[in-house]
Subunit: 129 residues, 2 copies
């Protein structure tokens, strides 16, 4: 495993490398609203396995966007939140979102657009062609 961070030298690719991953953007988006504990994240993004969630969080952590903190009182609880570096992503996230909408409009593909709050994704899964 160990999502080693051999990030590309080109800044653009580096940035993309950090935030691309099936769920990273979504997770960041959720965390922008404040720290969450694992189970909360799981609930807010139903169609996401625990394993993958942790996996993505680890990657984000490794890249310095997310911190992980074990709850002081209950050792079994863990909080995840954005580091300053993670927070600095906000404008980018916003712009990505805007452009995504723009793109959908330009292609007359707006019906499929989901409100960005609808983190709930009904599992597209084997939805191809």
């Amino acid at each position: 495993m160990t999502i080693i961070k051999r990030l590309p030298g080109l800044p653009i690719e580096r940035a993309l490398g950090v935030i691309s991953g099936r769920w990273k953007a979504v997770i960041i988006h959720v965390l922008l609203r404040g720290p969450k504990r694992t189970c909360e994240l799981e609930q807010q993004i139903p169609s996401l396995t625990q394993k993958v969630l942790i996996q993505q969080l680890r990657a984000l952590e490794e890249h310095g966007l997310v911190y992980r903190k074990v709850s002081a009182d209950d050792t079994r609880c863990v909080d995840y939140g954005l580091t300053p570096l993670g927070l600095s992503l906000e404008p980018l996230i916003v712009q990505l979102q805007k452009w995504g909408e723009h793109h959908a409009e330009a292609l007359g593909d707006t019906e499929r657009l989901l409100p960005c709050e609808a983190v709930v994704r009904p599992v597209p899964k084997t939805a191809k062609k």
Copy 2:
């Protein structure tokens, strides 16, 4: 094949889906400096196979970011360029780049940073751990 564009409903993911791909960002970055023909692209991004190049271009075309035009005089030449939609990506690209640099600095990882003109990538390949 046929890179069907089952793009996600969430705008952020949609945007990411469109520009993520091993070489897409780089290609767009190059095309921002004006239309190019296939062989030019090949030269400017040495560590990129022709097959993959075409592949990525097709995807971009399918998503409306790139147009493809057969040269009027010489049928064997083809031009690729950004559509208005593709051009509308510029600010995003710029911001991605900036953030990438910011990220590298924050992690004290600047030595590996390449100038964004250095589209030439010496093939990191199996460069892990």
